[in-house]
């Protein structure tokens, strides 16, 4: 208990165990969110008259994650020139009435620049939504011409049940985007696993530093006189293994869940295995070395060499060999 207290009462323990993962998590989520936003097609829908029909149309289109859709009442032509916006669609006044009387030809203005590529998809979706309503309105008009006692709204709603047009383009773009993202996320998945190992190695070396301090202060010598079982080192190993193992398990599962949407037992075992082997390596160091400087030198040396080997393997500059396995992060790429 006192060993746990001694480990946790240090301010740096909290920084390492809580603040750094939270900070890294936030940076990563932010980066991931920005990347996702960058992949969406930025489109602006302009309704200078703030019509309710625009809300109805948007609720249908916004379900699709392909677009980063913004609604404004003014035309942002400068943003279009700077390339911040792929296209601008301007809705006319009295859009509901125009739909009802199917008077839509040339009514919607479509601004785009030379670099615009994917805005056509949005145009088709918008057109599809409007035309669905126009056709239903036309159908209701025709029926009412035959029987003027029929309720127009009812017939409009009735048409909705049977008429569900799909957008004209199913967008091959969507599929290509998905493939690209898969390769990208696969690379990120390996990098995150390497980063987790590196982070936990720093935490382990910090705990090892504390053990070396206890050794230097002769706390371990004093305890050795009282208790023959070397209780200090045993407690240190159990607590360090437990804290770093638990933290590692949470991080590795989170990473798998975020990148793969499920947990792979083999990868999990590999990651936890290399984390625990690292802790065991540090335990052996506490027997051999006495100075903190030696610990930092070894941590830095092994950490850097292992990372270099990892990246050489990652970029396929180096092939797996027996000696590359001596560097623990290389196991991530097996």
């Amino acid at each position: 208990m006192i060993v746990l207290k001694a480990l946790l009462k240090q301010r740096i323990t909290f920084i390492l165990l809580l603040l750094i993962p939270i900070l890294l998590g936030l940076i990563w989520v932010n980066y991931f969110q920005d990347t996702v936003d960058d992949l969406k097609v930025p489109v602006v829908l302009v309704d200078p008259y703030n019509q309710t029909i625009t809300d109805e149309l948007l609720s249908e289109i916004e379900v699709d994650d392909t677009f980063n859709l913004t609604r404004t009442s003014e035309i942002p032509l400068k943003a279009l020139e700077r390339g911040e916006v792929e296209a601008i669609f301007v809705l006319p006044e009295n859009l509901k009435e125009l739909i009802m009387w199917s008077d839509l030809e040339g009514q919607i203005k479509w601004y785009r620049n030379d670099r615009s590529l994917f805005d056509g998809l949005f145009k088709e979706q918008l057109a599809s939504s409007i035309m669905t309503r126009a056709v239903r309105a036309e159908a209701a008009n025709v029926v009412q011409n035959y029987d003027s006692e029929e309720n127009w709204e009812e017939m409009f709603e009735f048409g909705l049940r049977y008429f569900e047009p799909e957008p004209i383009f199913q967008m091959n773009f969507q599929q290509i985007s998905s493939d690209m993202s898969e390769n990208d996320s696969s690379d990120q998945y390996y990098l995150m696993r390497w980063l987790t190992w590196l982070y936990l190695m720093i935490v382990s070396s910090f705990f090892t530093k504390m053990m070396l301090e206890w050794k230097e202060q002769h706390i371990s010598g004093r305890l050795k006189v009282i208790s023959k079982t070397n209780s200090l080192r045993t407690s240190w190993l159990l607590l360090t293994g437990l804290i770093i193992g638990t933290l590692g398990l949470i991080l590795v599962i989170s990473i798998q869940w975020v990148f793969l949407s499920q947990v792979y037992l083999l990868s999990l075992l590999v990651d936890i295995g290399i984390i625990l082997v690292s802790v065991f390596g540090y335990l052996l160091l506490t027997f051999i070395i006495n100075k903190k400087e030696t610990l930092w030198a070894l941590t830095l040396g092994y950490g850097m060499t292992s990372s270099v080997v990892f990246f050489l393997l990652f970029f396929q500059i180096l092939n797996h060999s027996w000696w590359t396995k001596l560097f623990l992060p290389s196991w991530i790429l097996l």
Binding site: I2, A6, H218, G221, I226
Partner: protein, 230 residues
């Protein structure tokens, strides 16, 4: 209690101790005295069982389960934890059930007011007192103190020496290392005089002026001159 026969200790091809013989009996108070590099700390660690001799034999005869108390030169305490935490931990570890002894010790060493303070909030002298307290918390048969009075003011030294005299009077054997004649004069120990890894003499406190230091180094002779010139 402890018998040393022909103890030698070699490190990096150099003998730090050479053919040391000696016997410590129950209730003895002994100081290992000599200049820096004489081998005092090494001999103490061998006596306490922390180091194994390269040659020679160390035989012990104890009655308790935890017979040894060790107070190292360093402040061997967990930084950031309170005095109470440290005392409780060693109490639990050594299975010390006598709360009376612990309470008396806290009172005698003047630790009551600092029980809830963290080690890194204490003065050097107070740290030394806590260092001593956790070393004797289990009422050991023999207590080893390796320069336990370094950087301690006279008032703190007075409390510590009073407590050690009390323990010695109760039958606790004390072996200590110091360069401080004030401490030696207060505890009145037998002196094991060491120099360059050799045992020069073993004398009682009242026979110190007659100690055989003729073959000793200049540093050792100066150490005796300091006291005898008073």
């Amino acid at each position: 209690m402890i018998t040393l026969e022909g103890i030698s200790y070699k490190k990096k091809r150099q003998y730090l101790l050479n053919q040391i013989d000696g016997r410590i009996n129950k209730g003895d108070c002994i100081t290992l005295f000599g200049p820096n590099g004489a081998g005092k700390s090494t001999l103490m660690k061998i006596m306490a069982g922390l180091n194994k001799p390269s040659r020679g034999k160390r035989s012990v005869q104890f009655h308790k389960k935890n017979p040894i108390g060790y107070v190292p030169q360093q402040i061997a305490l967990f930084d950031g934890l309170t005095v109470k935490d440290q005392i409780k931990y060693y109490q639990k570890l050594t299975k010390q059930t006598s709360t009376d002894f612990v309470e008396v010790m806290i009172k005698e060493l003047g630790l009551k007011d600092i029980l809830n303070k963290r080690i890194n909030q204490l003065s050097g002298g107070m740290k030394r007192k806590v260092n001593l307290a956790v070393g004797v918390i289990h009422q050991p048969e023999i207590l080893f103190l390796d320069e336990a009075f370094v950087g301690v003011d006279l008032a703190t030294k007075y409390d510590m020496l009073k407590w050690l005299n009390h323990l010695n009077a109760q039958g606790t054997t004390i072996v200590f290392i110091t360069h401080d004649w004030y401490v030696i004069n207060q505890l009145k120990p037998s002196m094991w005089i060491l120099d360059q890894g050799e045992m020069l003499d073993q004398v009682n406190w009242n026979a110190v002026p007659y100690a055989n230091i003729k073959s000793g180094s200049n540093a050792l002779k100066k150490m005796f001159d300091v006291d005898l010139s008073r």
